[in-house]
């Protein structure tokens, strides 16, 4: 197998990696906000239910969750509800939504009561206070932890292979096993490095944009 062929095959795996990454982010970022509200609600049963779920998800390996989402419905009901790829997405979205929710919660709780009260005495609604005053300040504060989480996600996508979804690592593995060459594995590493590098540059840019006030 020559270098060009290896590159093509890795790119194919990389496509899946990017897709898992993008779909997870697109769904987990907003879902995390909903989970964060759930874990802060004044309605206690819902709050404890949400916090328990977050605890379980954050307290167990993502790899295990991927396996559970894919196999358990089949074991329980005798039917597979999901394709392998969908199972990966479901597990990743739930997992990352829980991590994001904790970051959001920390950010939201760090906004001083005075900001809410200032909005209230100006006759603003709760929604206006959240979206026009609080949210932006939260975004600024959580940018660093969120970017960490996003970079971690890039590498976590490799877990998709536990249920045989062909992503970048498994693509390089296949070449290694099939042709007895080892460099594709390191080559795959370069893909991750470049991907993370681009993300880092993007996050730095956003953080700089948000830096116009303190």
């Amino acid at each position: 197998m020559n270098f060009g062929q290896v590159t093509l095959q890795l790119l194919e795996g990389f496509g899946t990696t990017v897709l898992v990454f993008a779909l997870t982010l697109a769904m987990a970022l907003p879902l995390g906000l909903i989970v964060a509200f759930g874990s802060m609600t004044k309605f206690k049963p819902l709050r404890w239910l949400t916090r328990t779920i977050v605890w379980i998800i954050r307290g167990t390996p993502l790899m295990l969750q991927v396996i559970v989402v894919f196999y358990v419905p089949g074991l329980l009901f005798g039917v597979n509800f999901t394709t392998r790829f969908t199972a990966v997405i479901i597990a990743f979205v739930i997992n990352y939504a829980c991590y994001f929710s904790e970051i959001y919660r920390g950010g939201i709780e760090s906004i001083s009561k005075g900001q809410y009260e200032a909005g209230q005495v100006l006759g603003m609604t709760k929604a206006q206070i959240f979206f026009k005053i609080v949210l932006f300040q939260v975004v600024k504060r959580i940018m660093a932890p969120v970017s960490n989480e996003v970079i971690t996600l890039v590498k976590d996508t490799a877990l998709a292979r536990v249920i045989a979804v062909e992503e970048l690592i498994s693509a390089s593995n296949d070449i290694m096993a099939g042709f007895g060459i080892i460099y594709p594995l390191f080559y795959a590493g370069v893909f991750y490095l470049i991907f993370c590098g681009i993300l880092t540059v993007m996050f730095n840019f956003i953080e700089k944009k948000l830096d116009y006030y303190r």
Partner: protein
Amino acid sequence: MPILEVKNLKKNFGKLEVLKDISFSLEKGEVLAIIGSSGSGKSTLLRTLNFLEKADGGCIIVNGECLYDCGKQQKSDEAELRKKRLHFGLVFQQFNLFPQYNTLQNITLALNLQSKEKLRKAFFGEDKRSFFQKLGDLPKTIAKYRAALRAEYAGNTDKAKQLIERVGLGDKTYSYPFELSGGQQQRVAIARALALEPDVLCFDEPTSALDPELTGEVLKVIKDLKKYNSTMIVVTHEMEFARDVADRIIFMYDGKIEEEGTPDEVFGNPKSERTKQFIAKY
């Protein structure tokens, strides 16, 4: 008719009675200074008037309209509450400006939101025509709505700029709070509260968080507001200022009004022993 009447106002935090039977009234354009030692309930009184805390008894009447009456069933609907709050303004000790907005935006934010709400209702609310008629007109309606909104926003900006001039910050119109001194921030906060034209503007120790050399500029702004006939309640530890600016003084002690009168009465010839002791400290 007084602009504000407070009758037998009560507020408890759990078992702690913080306001016990507070009654007073205020005429339009009057300035009331509230003094008293720490923990006597001054902040709680202002917060209760601004509906940041819910009173536990008594009533609050503004311009003859009863905003809160413990005897009656209260609607706790958010829209009602917001309307009630708009009768009052509150300037906080810690300013509480919105850090991501500049001076102008801090002042116009609430105004613009109100304009939007008002115009949405006017253009898209109570429209009794049939669905298809409305749909046919939709592009035209949206264009008209947009134009009206722009006009309102421009008006709000003008108004905000006038207020910024009035508090002497014309050169700071586009500065962010972190670029302003404490005194300047507090003046922005005052302009922000004034923009909504409250019936009664409340100040909770507006200069306590400031360096001594910055208190003067803020107190001067508050004093100037008297010229515009603003009705104000100022909680303050600045006795000089209270004496100079207030029409009436209330001395609070342990959740009650211990003494009330003109500055000359309260400072010159206090009736209560506690008032005497308190004033002697300054």
